[in-house]
């Protein structure tokens, strides 16, 4: 017997794996995280307990969590759309930035209009900026068959430089002329501030919008012609060609759609939370990259992405609140990294089953 344990391909993927794998991934990450904590001399149980209370178990903490979850829900949906279609879009980050650029433009320039009109204007400009930016990468792939991973990644840096240029390196429309010393963005008009619903707890409009977008995407993928075509393209490109689905053009559409979703996220950042184009804050947050973790953990399911965004948002929120001498500041990042790591490992188990030599099949459920 060469190896005591081996992997065997599954013929069918039980539906339960869809939720079991993410749950076990999180549990696995927490266990490994606990070992790390113990090695650094911290008590894992009390640390986790503090994270839980700070993130989820009170209305106050939930508000902060939803605030952190909103941008992640959008970037998570953005990544999920493209990954489902077999396109690896790493550019949620830059698309989110561009959405913020577009929405803050509308939020400043549309002053004097009714609130509803301004908010709709912000959402639309965010979509156009984010979607247009992503469509460039899609167009390059369609036309020249460039690698979308590299292009979107590089375009994230370009978007960052554009932000820096608009706020720090020029007297652009976005820069606040009244900001002396440290330059900052021009505030959007008061009417452009997105509502926060008070339903026992504060629920930002952006989060509600994210759920709506998730529902639209779910419907699109499971019930529309477009979603059907996308599914066929990623399942069997040859079959798509054989039934006359225009494959090339679809890449641009999917990228544009994903970018538009990230762009709404950028708009919500401006409208709901920061109320300016915050060049440094956006770049430090890394919403786009965390969105990839969210999408992977949600197994590219739109509703799953929202749920996971709340989970990761809670972790982030707790990280902010607890940062201090007795709480390792890198812990939250470590935990997020571990979750991605275990989620990818768990993904293998959805396709293969573990068999021990000479034993019956050992399902991951066991």
């Amino acid at each position: 017997m060469k190896s005591p344990v081996r992997l065997e391909r599954r013929l069918t993927q039980p539906k339960s794996l869809n939720w079991l794998v993410p749950v076990l991934s999180v549990v696995g990450a927490l266990v490994i995280g606990a070992i790390v904590l113990m090695l650094t001399g911290k008590n894992p149980i009390s640390t986790y307990h503090r994270i839980l209370t700070t993130a989820f178990t009170s209305f106050d903490s939930l508000e902060g969590t939803l605030r952190s979850a909103t941008p992640l829900a959008f970037t998570g949906l953005c990544a999920a759309i493209t990954f489902r279609s077999g396109i690896i879009n790493i550019g949620g980050e830059g698309q989110f930035f561009m959405g913020a650029v577009g929405a803050s433009l509308a939020g400043i320039a549309m002053g004097g209009q009714p609130k509803t009109i301004i908010i709709i204007g912000m959402i639309l400009t965010g979509m156009v900026f984010g979607g247009g930016y992503a469509a460039i990468a899609g167009g390059l792939k369609a036309k020249f068959n460039t690698n979308e991973i590299i292009i979107t990644l590089m375009m994230n840096y370009i978007a960052g430089i554009i932000l820096d240029y608009l706020i720090f390196d020029s007297n652009s429309y976005w820069r606040d002329p009244k900001s002396f010393g440290f330059p900052s963005g021009k505030p959007i008009v008061d009417a452009a501030r997105w509502p926060i619903f008070h339903l026992g707890m504060d629920i930002p409009f952006g989060f509600v919008l994210a759920i709506g977008v998730g529902a639209v995407l779910w419907f699109m993928y499971s019930r529309t012609r477009f979603g059907f075509e996308m599914g066929v393209i990623s399942d069997a490109p040859a079959a798509a060609r054989y039934v006359g689905i225009r494959t090339r053009w679809k890449i641009v559409v999917v990228m544009g759609l994903a970018g538009a979703v990230a762009g709404i996220g950028g708009a919500s950042d401006v409208g709901n939370f920061r109320h300016i184009l915050d060049a440094k804050g956006l770049q430090l947050a890394g919403y786009g990259y965390t969105g990839i973790v969210v999408a992977a953990l949600a197994r590219y399911n739109p509703f799953g992405a929202i749920f996971v965004a709340v989970l990761i948002g809670g972790l982030t929120n707790a990280g902010y609140a607890l940062q201090g001498p007795d709480f390792p500041s890198g812990l939250v990042g470590t935990l997020q990294g571990l979750i991605l790591f275990t989620a990818v490992a768990g993904e293998v188990l959805t396709r293969y089953r573990i068999r021990r030599a000479g034993h019956e099949a050992m399902a991951v459920t066991a």
């Binding site: 081996r6 012609r225 599914g231």
Partner: protein, 511 residues
Amino acid sequence: MNSNETVAVRMTGIVKRFPGVVANDGVEFGARLGEVHALLGENGAGKSTLSNVLTGLYRPDEGHMFLDGHEVSFGSPRDALNAGIGMVHQHFRLVNSFSVAENVVLGDQTTSTFLNTNSVADTVAGLSQRYSLAVDPRAKIWQLSVGEQQRVEILKVLYRGAKILILDEPTAVLTPQESEALFVTLRAMVAEGRTVIFISHKLDEVMAVSDRVTVLRGGKTVGTVDTASTTARDLARLMVGREVVFNRVERAAHPDAHKTVLHVSSVSATDDRGNQALHEISFSVNAGEIVGIAGVSGNGQRELAEVIGGMRHATAGTILIEGEAVKSGSVRQSIAAGIAHVPEDRLHTGLAPSHSVEDNLILKSYRHRPMSKWSVLMRKTIKSNADTMVERYDVKTPDTATPVRLLSGGNVQKVLLAREFSASPKLLVAASPTRGLDVGAIENVRIRLVEAADKGVGILLISEDLEELMSMSDRILVMYEGRIVGNVSAAEADRESIGLLMGGVTTAGAQ
């Protein structure tokens, strides 16, 4: 199985279960040194599972395996390979973007860290010459026809020098001549003391090449017999549990037989590598007529099917359906013109394998009512359409939501045919429609094709199975190097002369 000192491999009491299926249910199997041992059975009889157990891909739930008398247990295909068991798979395991030579050495641990592509290519060229497996070692896999890819698979195992070779339907993509050449290769290999396990459900092949035959049915061993002391008819009976007879289908001419459905006029096209694959081809198919296209794989048949199906641009010439020109290179135009197409690669081109039976049945009709309205799919209509089709075409599936990749080969083809015929086509282009299917499924496909022809559909049947062409076609065209080199009435056709034409030997007046 009694103990015999020349036994190379023995498997006893092999049980392998999958969710809901017992694929192997106590299989007994033994092959001797220096013999070609055929493993015969219908699709789903457990042949592939048994060979996957033998090659270490699956671990049996029960049972024992012995190599040269010693019990073995493989943890992975590499263990089996190291023990001298090599497999030529029915579904190719090749890296499309790699060259032939690179694929041959892929995973071979005797290769040094730095790959000397030239010396490998030379070795591969030597091997392919020695075993008459013509293939350019420097070509990329994606540029090769299915037949050529199969040769690469055979070369891979030969390169490793396996002592026991398992060939899963090796001749499925080969012409009679190529099969003959392969049989010579196999005989040479067993003469060297190797063992060849030959998986097939083609009776004449098994009769021609094997020394002994083990027949599987429903996951159990039905029996092992000496080929010399049995007949094809007996084997067929063992295999299916009933007698099956293939006869030439005699059909009355269709009333509309004078109407031309398809007219191909001076069509030229290039292959994926940009080389000219079709040279000004012209022919026509009439209503209710079955026209067979014979030829060695890689002589332009695939390109011809793709041009007619709209998947490939014609560089010259026109395709006419009932006298109307069809825009070249547009699948949608071809579908709209009434062309149905059963492609060679059914599971990955003809169907979306991970999609449900339901979704696959609407792959060509989802754009229009009643399957969709205002861009939204009408799930209820789609489901009831699937229920009707599954019943009408007798598709064996747990339900219509099952992914087609989980169906057996015969049922996969039923789904594909159901969809293609449901569009009421004028012309059906069928590329190797029965390849890899078991006897029952082949019969089913043939009946469906003949039924369609009787209703007036023109059928272009592209096949490498000469028996099939001769028993089904009204006329046979022979393709060689992108040209039609022969046009014979099937009733007057004989294997010899068609085989010669396929090999490029033209006699005066053949064109």
